[in-house]
């Protein structure tokens, strides 16, 4: 049987890289006594895959991993068991069984939502709601947002405008952009001392992956503000797969 685990990653865990988070979960599964399936051979490993690596420094409400299990309990019981062996800064937020023939979430990934916030002690014009609202509106009205993409061999200009699906300066506006319900008092596990600036939905996946830092850098350019990557906390809010032209949160995609 296959399951999909949604988890948050905050605080000091922002500094643990993707591969180490994978190792962390593999060891956690053993501590929790979760019977994962293993690959064959002399050095067997758990059949586990992550939907999308989160860059070092970013925090998240919605990381996903798919895992194959030999046996499993009710979803809530499984989530509780795993949470009992995790630290306070990596928490299981959801556990769902997915179809045996489910497409790997890594391959299904189409978009990610991010919240971009000013870190505690950092200040600039984006702290002003009215300013930010105007800048976002103007930014999105541009025909093209061209960025220089460097690969090993060449540099080329690409237009990222089509890959920015939406941007919003408030939770209410963000709520209108997305295809899922958010509670009236929805709160995210981003560091409480950060000041939220904007919400955005960006293309993600193996073909084209737009990083929130890149969008923020372009917005800064547009707004005439010097971009300093350390000023902002990038926080992932959700991951989506695409079906029939609609974005579907990974937590309900291909579930049993």
């Amino acid at each position: 049987m296959k399951a999909r685990i949604k988890f948050s990653k905050t605080g000091s865990m922002r500094f643990i890289g993707h591969l180490d988070v994978m190792r962390y979960f593999q060891k956690a599964m053993r501590r929790a006594g979760v019977k994962a399936s293993y690959s064959q051979g002399f050095s067997p490993h758990q059949l586990m895959s992550f939907t999308s690596p989160l860059g070092i420094g970013l925090s998240s409400d919605a990381e996903y991993l798919d895992i194959t299990l030999e046996e499993g309990d009710a979803p809530q019981a499984m989530a509780d068991r795993i949470n009992a062996v995790l630290n306070d800064e990596i928490r299981v937020k959801g556990f769902t069984y997915i179809k045996d023939n489910a497409k790997p979430s890594m391959a299904a990934l189409a978009a990610c939502d991010y919240l971009i916030a000013l870190k505690s002690g950092k200040n600039n014009k984006f702290a002003d709601k009215e300013f930010t609202r105007k800048q976002i509106a103007g930014f999105l009205l541009q025909d093209k947002i061209e960025v220089l993409k460097k690969t090993k061999k060449l540099e080329k200009l690409i237009d990222i405008r089509p890959n920015i699906y939406y941007m919003a300066d408030s939770l209410n506006d963000y709520r209108k952009c997305i295809s899922k319900e958010l509670a009236e008092d929805e709160s995210f596990c981003i560091d409480k001392e950060c000041t939220g600036i904007l919400y955005c939905g960006l293309a993600a996946g193996s073909v084209l992956n737009i990083k929130p830092g890149l969008v923020m850098e372009e917005l800064c350019k547009y707004s005439g503000i010097e971009y300093n990557e350390f000023d902002y906390q990038m926080h992932r809010l959700e991951m989506y797969a695409e079906a029939d032209g609609k974005l579907i949160p990974m937590s309900v995609y291909d579930v049993v």
């Binding site: 000091s12 890289g17 190792r23 060891k27 599964m29 053993r30 070092i56 062996v85």
Partner: protein, 620 residues
């Protein structure tokens, strides 16, 4: 949310920020305000190496069992963070509370190898602790050293308030109790040092005065206060089945050198190899009980989630119940996806059976450590491994499908001739020839032999503590000679030869048998930028040479002399049980090429029996 000592900017600009955030699985969490004693345990090397060390895990666990103590950890910041801490004036902090080390009661530093000495100064300096112990002020932590290099602490004696000579399990609680007593009394720093000096195994260097002869050798070494004993006796944990051993070891986030459960099956060794310091320091051999080991193995695998367990000891094959333990581990854990790794195993039928069960034969290799190339020289060093053992073991393995062999040797052993060096090439070749006696159609491709040499460094408390060490030039010549001999062999193309750097070995040799005068050299080298000397890319021989010159000390004095039999050594004030008489007799035996039987086959009266435990009281 845990508050971190370093800002996001710093953490995001250094390599592997996980080295500095703590918070690992099974980390001890306490409120520093709730305890009487804050103890910071330090391994003066990078996190990945320090976290792999079993000794710290044992003491960390043991100290944290007490509610009145909070034991935390610190490692050497890597060079990138080192620069930032200096530039921004950020004090070095412990991983658990992320609070400055200088606010602790104790800083305990484990001394695993000589080449970490400048890193000790780095840790003290970055913490803001006065480098010279005698100059430390009230309120600064007491700096205590322990581990193998504490058995000749003199080169770093200036920097330590005290050393603990012995195994951590025995005296630390008592030392902590004395500390609380002292703290409550409101007396000065020196009074605590005097209280500590009276405890067994505690050495307080500032209470001793070395006196030198004109030729630089030690004339006298005397205690200055009545509290300091003339001889400091090594402390031994007699019953290793009824003692502290972690049930929940720390599990780092990043991959470290030893990323697995470590089960120490016994301490000490019966073999008596004459070059081996551990073999003498940890006498007598003390096995842990089988049921204790089984219980701990299970607990540690469950509490860590590690996918591998390794058995640790100086010579696993000498653990009497090894078969039972290993087959139990395989039965219990193999189908749960847990790997079992078995270092330091004598290659025999049992070893090959186990290896074929736990490893991929095509990918794994056999390891032999003949240490010397000829039987004559192996007799000199008392390495009881014969050519037949090696060739028969290899042959059995080849028949079982293995085709990779690793061989470890030393260059520069006392009494070595060029004939012995050539013997390394010949032995490597003989193993290859052995392989090719298998009919071609039954072979598993070509044989692959990796022959490595390290440079012999004479160590205190070994029969070779009197011996001279090779010069760099001699070492280079020997290496080149061996390389040319390897190339002459019939199967030269199947043999790969690796060798060790001679510069670092010389410095290691100086510190291993050095005296207190070297403190100034180490300090000067540190102040001129030396840290991470064990890392070839950071080792700066020019700075070291200058430091020796400026302090009027000559490396030759420490390295090249064969010491007189009656010379007083800087470490002679330490009593490890094994006597100087026994070591000298063994030195004579080595010159006469006489093999000494191991402890279990015949007691040699080395002196370790005074501890009344382990093999010394086994029924024969």
């Amino acid at each position: 949310m845990r508050k971190l000592a370093l800002s996001d900017e710093i953490l995001l600009s250094v390599d592997k920020p996980a080295r500095y955030i703590g918070g690992e699985t099974n980390m001890a969490i306490k409120d520093p305000a709730d305890v009487d004693i804050r103890f910071c345990m330090c391994f003066p090397d990078v996190y990945e190496i320090g976290m792999s060390h079993l000794g710290i895990q044992i003491i960390y666990d043991m100290l944290n069992l007490r509610d009145d103590i909070y034991c935390e950890r610190v490692y050497s910041p890597w060079t990138d963070l080192d620069r930032i801490l200096r530039r921004e004036n950020i004090p070095l902090f412990a991983l658990e509370s992320q609070q400055p080390v200088k606010d602790f009661d104790f800083l305990g530093i484990t001394l695993q190898y000589e080449m970490c000495y400048t890193n000790i100064l780095q840790v003290l300096d970055l913490s803001g602790i006065t480098l010279i112990a005698a100059d430390r002020k009230e309120g600064e932590p007491f700096v205590i050293g322990g581990g193998p290099c504490a058995y000749n602490p003199e080169p770093i004696a200036d920097f330590f308030d005290m050393f603990y000579i012995g195994e951590g399990e025995t005296v630390y609680y008592e030392l902590m109790d004395k500390y609380k007593e002292w703290k409550a009394s409101g007396q000065d720093r020196a009074s605590f040092l005097k209280m500590a000096a009276k405890l067994p195994g505690i050495y307080v260097p500032q209470f001793y005065q070395p006196v030198y002869n004109n030729d630089g050798t030690l004339a006298d070494f005397k205690p200055l206060v009545p509290e300091a004993p003339a001889k400091v006796i090594k402390q031994v944990e007699c019953d290793l089945s009824e003692t502290y051993y972690p049930r929940k070891p720390l599990v780092p986030y990043i991959k470290v050198t030893q990323d697995r459960v470590v089960l120490e099956i016994q301490r000490g060794c019966i073999r008596g190899c004459r070059f081996c310091q551990a073999g003498m320091l940890y006498r007598p051999i003390r096995p842990r009980g089988l049921s204790f080991l089984k219980k701990r193995a299970k607990e540690m695998l469950e509490s860590t989630g590690h996918e591998e367990i390794t058995l640790s000891s100086l010579s696993s094959s000498d653990y009497k119940e090894l078969k039972e333990l290993v087959y139990w581990l395989i039965d219990e854990f193999k189908d749960k996806g847990i790997n079992i790794s078995l270092p330091s195993l004598r290659i025999d039928e049992f070893a090959l059976d186990v290896m074929s069960k736990v490893q991929d034969v095509r990918k794994s290799s056999l390891t032999f450590a003949p240490e010397a190339g000829t039987q004559r020289l192996r007799n000199v060093i008392n390495k009881g491994l014969t050519e037949d053992d090696i060739l028969n073991g290899a042959m059995e393995a080849f028949n079982g499908g293995w085709n990779r062999v690793k061989l470890y040797f030393m260059l520069g052993l006392p009494g070595e001739t060029y004939n012995d060096i050539e013997g390394i090439a010949i032995l490597s070749d003989k193993i290859a020839r052995q392989y090719y006696t298998i009919p071609k159609e039954e072979r598993n491709g070509r044989v692959n032999i990796v022959t490595s040499t390290s440079i012999f460094v004479p160590k205190p408390f070994t029969p070779f503590q009197w011996a001279a060490m090779d010069t760099k030039e001699q070492a280079r010549q020997k290496r080149d000679f061996l390389l040319s001999k390897v190339r002459e062999q019939l199967n030269a193309r199947s043999i790969k030869y690796n060798c060790h750097d001679a510069d670092v070995s010389e410095l290691e040799g100086v510190f291993a048998r050095g005296d207190r005068r070297l403190g100034n050299v180490i300090r000067q080298a540190y102040e001129n930028g030396c840290i991470y000397d064990a890392w070839t890319e950071y080792f700066r021989p020019d700075v070291w040479n200058m430091a020796f010159k400026d302090n009027n000390l000559d490396m030759e004095f420490y390295l090249r002399r064969e010491r007189a039999e009656d010379e007083l050594f800087p470490w002679d004030f330490i009593d490890i049980g094994v006597t100087k008489e026994f070591l000298l007799e063994e030195y004579h035996n080595s010159k006469a090429e006489i093999v000494t039987p191991n402890c279990r086959s015949q007691c040699q009266g080395c002196g370790a029996a005074k501890f009344q435990c382990g093999v010394c009281i086994e029924k024969r």
